[in-house]
């Protein structure tokens, strides 16, 4: 039963050879390489698909966004049929083509918006974490006020003031989402600033530039990148919601959010669900796809990300 059932009182010494050195054991290797789960892989496929459509959709679409597929047979909300595989919308335009045109707009505006939010938020956030207490307090207070205004509300007021155009939408989205990015990057910056290696750099006499770019940034990059995905989702939802409220992308330009709005009648009068379902599924599949990827990444990073939201 046992390999060495001995008398417990005996002084037992394990066999050893003279050469064996009892060196310090290596630290456990870092948790395995990052691998996507099945759901994460599905997310990647969906995201790549929509990125492709966003880039090339308008060249591949069977019709121009405002063309009628059946000029001789005008009737709103036609059921899917050959020539218009997703049917037609409230103005008898081809839904498939409009979804393909809308992809570029919805994704493009959101991506540009989230990039602006990141440029503002990360610069000021990291800056705030190493600047003096006074600047930090002023910036934090300012962004706290901005955070206290619900995003949609903010968007509504800006659009009311400046009118709705694509540049306004991009800048608004960037401005609205920069406080959240600011808060995250400031928190990350603060967290890293108190690490001994940053203090070691200060004791060495390093300037701000070295501390920001060589000590803080490499350690903040990964969490910021995975948050970027999440923020991208929220910007897509924001831009689509504004369009849905009629204050985003203006007709006759196609955009997923405004397509839902235009065709709301189809559902309300019980005519057809495709005109609404198609753009709604487009948005949902894209955002859910990105979220599945982000979820995998944050699970790999120890799920810390969700705690920061």
């Amino acid at each position: 039963m046992s390999k060495l059932k001995k008398n417990e009182d005996e002084h037992y010494v394990a066999p050893f050879s003279a050469e064996v050195s009892f060196d310090e054991l290596q630290d456990a290797p870092p948790s395995g390489k990052f691998r996507l789960s099945i759901t994460g892989k599905i997310g990647v496929v969906v995201m790549v698909f929509w990125m492709f459509v966003a880039l090339f959709g308008q060249f591949l679409a069977p019709f121009e966004e405002n063309d009628l597929p059946f000029p001789d047979d005008y009737s709103e909300f036609q059921k899917p049929r050959p020539g218009a595989w997703l049917g037609t919308d409230v103005d008898d335009r081809d839904i498939l083509s409009r979804v393909m045109y809308g992809a570029g707009r919805t994704i493009g505006i959101s991506l540009a918006g989230v990039i602006i939010a990141y440029i503002i938020g990360v610069t000021l956030g990291i800056g705030s974490s190493i600047a003096g207490a006074r600047i930090d307090l002023a910036l934090t207070q300012f962004f706290n006020i901005m955070l206290a205004i619900p995003t949609i509300m903010f968007g509504l007021v800006v659009v009311a003031a400046l009118g709705s155009s694509i540049p306004v939408l991009i800048i608004t989205a960037g401005a609205i989402f920069s406080p959240v990015v600011f808060r995250l990057s400031r928190a990350l910056g603060m967290e890293i600033m108190v690490m001994d290696f940053v203090e070691a750099a200060k004791v060495r006499g390093e300037g701000y530039r070295w501390i920001i770019f060589k000590e803080i940034w490499p350690n903040a990059a990964m969490p910021l990148i995975s948050d970027f995905g999440l923020r991208f989702i929220y910007v897509i939802l924001f831009v689509s919601s504004l369009s849905f409220l009629g204050l985003g992308v203006q007709p006759p330009m196609a955009d997923w959010g405004s397509m839902v709005r235009e065709n709301l009648g189809a559902l309300q009068y019980g005519e057809s669900v495709v005109p609404i379902l198609a753009p709604a599924i487009a948005i949902a599949s894209l955002t859910v796809g990105i979220n599945l990827i982000v979820d995998d990444i944050s699970a790999h990073a120890g799920g810390k990300l969700s705690g920061r939201l």
């Binding site: 759901t39 207070q141 300012f142 706290n144 006020i145 901005m146 206290a148 205004i149 619900p150 995003t151 949609i152 509300m153 509504l156 007021v157 800006v158 659009v159 009311a160 003031a161 400046l162 989702i233 939802l237 689509s240 919601s241 849905f244 409220l245 009629g246 204050l247 959010g257 839902v260 709005r261 709301l264 559902l267 309300q268 019980g270 669900v273 609404i276 379902l277 709604a280 599924i281 948005i283 949902a284 955002t287 859910v288 990105i290 979220n291 599945l292 979820d295 799920g303 969700s306 705690g307 939201l309």
Partner: protein, 317 residues
């Protein structure tokens, strides 16, 4: 502990004040002032000047702000620019019921169910139940409100064949059950939207506590699982959970805007969209303040709950 509470409440007030400045300045950037809009095409230089003086628009901006703030705090919101001579208070009192009912019913139904589901998921991490719930909430949390709403309409109206896709009819003299059936689509949609977040965040909050050494200690002391969760874990998770609830209720405040438009019934949210479309900036100012103040209060509750639940602060040395 009191100094911290007072500090937090003070900070909340200051934030509200800051928000009011942002809203006031923001709405003042809107093209045209109240006098121009009210007089419209019929305006002359003299009549504009007279009306501006009457409305105080010739005063410096900061004086206008204090005047507005002073009136606002006293409940005098001013008169709508777009809807003839109707006061803002009148407009709001006509509309607030729908919004209030839908939001509070959502909170009453959605919050306890979601928090419960989240806690159960955290009690049995990695089980099939947990995985389904997690995947479901990962999906729903990222989907736009109108996608969830469309699914609800498909299910309720097209599949079950109940009611229709628009909320119609009066809510007068309805009891609770009738109200719930009346608003079944907006309520279930909003519940699903916040449930996704709430389940995820509650689960994370409880799991975070469950991984503490004192929980391991309780298990090693031979404490039954029920008691470990109910007494040892939940007591420490209450703060974070209330925090999560407040954050999500604050989200309802904005989520409700899209839902009202989608289901085509009128409430405060549609009123603000209408205000934006008609550039009725006095209406926007007032509603903006109401929404933001609600938001700030909920966030303050979130903050206070985490302070109050900290035993170190409740029982100082």
């Amino acid at each position: 502990m009191f100094p911290i509470l007072i500090k937090k409440i003070g900070a909340g007030l200051l934030t509200t004040l800051g928000v009011s400045i942002v809203i006031f300045i923001g709405t003042n950037l809107l093209p045209g002032d109240a006098a121009q809009i009210r007089l419209g095409q019929a305006s002359t230089e003299d009549s504009l000047k007279a009306l501006r003086e009457e409305l105080g628009l010739n005063l410096p901006l900061y004086q206008q702000y204090f005047r507005w703030l002073f009136n606002f705090v006293q409940g005098d919101f001013g008169t709508s620019l777009a809807s003839g001579n109707v006061t803002i208070a009148q407009l709001i009192s006509d509309r607030y019921e729908n919004t209030l009912i839908v939001s509070s019913l959502t909170a009453m139904i959605g919050v306890p169910i979601s928090v419960g589901l989240g806690i159960i998921a955290a009690m049995f991490p990695g089980t099939l139940y947990d995985r389904i719930l997690t995947l479901g909430s990962v999906t729903l949390v990222a989907a736009p409100e109108f996608f969830t709403a469309t699914l609800m309409v498909l299910f309720v109206v097209f599949f079950l064949g109940i009611g229709n896709a628009v909320v119609v009819g009066s809510i007068e003299d309805k009891n609770l059950v009738e109200l719930i059936t009346h608003f079944i689509l907006p309520i279930t949609t909003l519940c699903l939207v916040i449930a996704a977040q709430l389940i995820r965040m509650t689960r994370a909050a409880v799991l975070n506590v469950m991984s503490s050494p004192y929980i391991e200690m309780a298990i090693l002391k031979g404490i039954p699982r029920r008691r470990v969760v109910m007494r040892h874990a939940l007591l420490n998770a209450i703060g974070p959970i209330v925090n999560v609830i407040a954050i999500n209720l604050a989200y309802v405040v904005t989520g409700v805007i899209v839902i009202e438009v989608y289901f085509g019934y009128s409430g405060l949210a549609t009123l603000i969209v209408q205000g934006v479309q008609t550039r009725d900036y006095i209406l926007i100012q007032t509603l903006g303040m109401i929404f933001c103040a609600t938001y700030v209060i909920l966030m303050l509750i979130a903050d206070l709950s985490s302070i109050l639940s900290n035993p170190r602060l409740r029982h100082p040395k």
